[in-house]
């Protein structure tokens, strides 16, 4: 346990130093084995990926610290095998963000995914079954990504992202490359749990142990959204989207359906964690739609939302995880009087919920603002409408919980043990980070997102 935490502290510190360095001196490239691209594999960190590295490593660290001090009934949690898988999953996600090679990205996707399957299965028999289904669906997604890479390789003869981008801009559009683009995106959508392919997500995340879902729920979908953004702004030239208007408008419509379906399914849930999972399905819709609307404002919104959603999901899942560890239940009707039993946890939960709804000082507001203005700029009223509708549904969802937790008397049922400050400190830190990220939005957009977008145009 101390080894795992110190490894994550070291990783987070490296990510922070790298972030500072990239901001001041521009992107860093590391050649694996000293082979120059396009022959060798390179790791490329530009401001955007440096930010993602920071988010992933800090998130993994805070989550592990909080749960290592939480007494709970999952004995497997502290075994070396579990911690190894935890670190492996984190490393896989970091690799996906840092790599500059499309095939290497596939390998990292599988590293991350295989360790996630094993982690998710450690939560009882329901979790094992859900995890096997996730494995079947997830492997198909990764295979389709690989197929798309194959088509791109047939056309461009290269696997390096920058090299592919250079070659694709010099040649006229071809059906091969467009097919590759479509298949690759389809694979990534499956891995990201876009609506018709979403069924694995609530099943797997709601039944896993809280520490696992606290790690993977903020991480996997966001990192996949980052890959889609990276593909759109770095690898594929602008004319790909304009050549496939049907495809991108289908993506935006899928996003609308995902948002509305996620919101409606969330209302039907009786379990707090399942409700959060369906809200996550709706959030995936936000990021997908923004990425495919095809203008800079919406893309800015998507990148901001990747960041904001990672922070809010982490807050919410950590808070619920602490509640579950304490009371043994995550059903909404067991939330009576939670504010008097666990005031600090519930305050953090409230911060996450308000950010999810989109209340101004919190970061969820700013990303949503960019997404809605991007939708209006593109004239896509339905997408803007679904965003607003889903925010309203979120109000309904969270106030249903608040009403029980704040006004009702706590039931005398089993509430054993007391909270300790080591588990609450990371939660408070991330909850305070929510308005901080919100207030830093201007800086993030100027320093990180605009250079990333202009590097392409």
């Amino acid at each position: 346990m101390p080894v795992a935490i110190s490894a994550l502290v070291f990783s987070a510190a490296c990510a922070a130093v790298l972030f500072m360095q990239v901001l001041s001196t521009g992107s860093q490239t590391y050649l694996l084995g000293g082979w120059a691209p396009p022959w060798g594999i390179s790791l490329v960190v530009d401001p955007l990926s440096a930010l993602m590295l920071l988010v992933v490593s800090v998130g993994a660290l805070l989550n592990l610290v909080a749960f290592s001090f939480t007494p709970s009934k999952w004995p497997l949690r502290k075994t070396p095998a579990f911690l190894g898988l935890y670190l492996l999953a984190t490393a896989g996600h970091l690799g996906i963000v840092a790599t500059g090679d499309v095939f290497n990205l596939f390998v990292f996707i599988e590293v991350a995914a295989l360790s996630s399957y094993a982690l998710l299965s450690l939560g009882g028999r329901r979790a094992t079954f859900a995890s096997l289904n996730y494995l079947l669906v997830g492997s198909v997604g990764a295979s389709l990504y690989l197929l798309g890479v194959g088509y791109l390789y047939i056309k461009s003869g290269s696997l390096n992202m920058l090299d592919i981008a250079r070659i694709l801009t010099t040649m006229p559009l071809s059906t091969t490359a467009l097919t590759g683009f479509a298949v690759l995106m389809l694979g990534l959508w499956i891995k990201m749990a876009v609506f018709p392919f979403h069924a694995w997500l609530p099943a797997a995340y709601a039944s896993a142990s809280p520490v696992t879902s606290g790690l993977l729920a903020p991480m996997t979908t966001k990192v996949m959204a980052y890959v889609i953004v990276r593909m759109l702004i770095t690898v594929f030239p602008q004319n790909f989207l304009s050549a496939m208007l049907g495809f991108s408008s289908m993506a935006v419509w899928l996003a609308c359906i995902a948002i509305i379906a996620g919101a409606l399914l969330a209302i039907a849930q009786q379990d707090l964690r399942r409700m959060l999972c369906f809200i996550l399905v709706a959030e995936v819709g936000y990021m997908l739609g923004g990425a495919f609307l095809g203008n800079d404002t919406a893309m800015t919104g998507t990148i901001l939302h990747i960041l904001a959603d990672a922070a809010m999901t982490l807050t919410l899942f950590m808070a619920v995880g602490i509640i579950v560890a304490r009371t043994g239940s995550s059903r909404i009707r067991d939330m009576d009087g939670m504010f008097t039993i666990m005031p600090v946890t519930m305050l953090a939960f409230t911060a996450g919920a308000l950010s999810m709804i989109g209340v101004p000082p919190f970061c969820g507001f700013f990303s949503k603002w960019y997404l809605i203005s991007g939708a209006l700029e593109a004239g896509h009223w339905v997408f803007a409408g679904s965003l607003i509708l889903s925010s309203l549904v979120n109000v309904l969802l969270f106030f249903r919980v608040f009403e029980r937790a704040f006004f009702r008397q706590p039931s005398t049922a089993a509430v054993q043990g007391t909270g300790n400050w080591q588990q609450l400190a990371p939660l408070c830190f991330i909850a305070l980070l929510l308005p901080a990220i919100g207030l830093a939005t201007g800086g993030i957009v100027q320093q990180i997102i605009q250079p990333a977008l202009q590097g392409v145009l």
Partner: protein, 126 residues
Amino acid sequence: MHSLGEIFASHFNYIAYVAIMMVGLYAMAAKRNLIKKIIGLGIFQTSIMLLYVSIGAKKGATIPILAKGATAIRPADYINPLPHVLMLTAIVVSVATLGVALALVQKLHKHFNSIEEDEILKELRR
């Protein structure tokens, strides 16, 4: 305009990989036995490997190792090794996936005493 036969002959590898892929997908979607589903996944992954291997192949060419003392190098004599090397990695990945999947099925069998999806779902609903 090419005749259908010509298209079939020149695109044989593509048609083969799509056909195999569909077999795998069918097995994953239609079979209720978990082991059969995993076999379907294996077939699905193998079809993509077939595509990669077939695009690297070249008629009458050999492996890209220079003979001792060779001076003139004709690219037409050598196949492109990169897709094959990539598939070596992909095979490793799919073996790992298979291992994790079988371990999960074993665990499920311990819990439910069955590897039929229907029976497991029935047991879970109770």
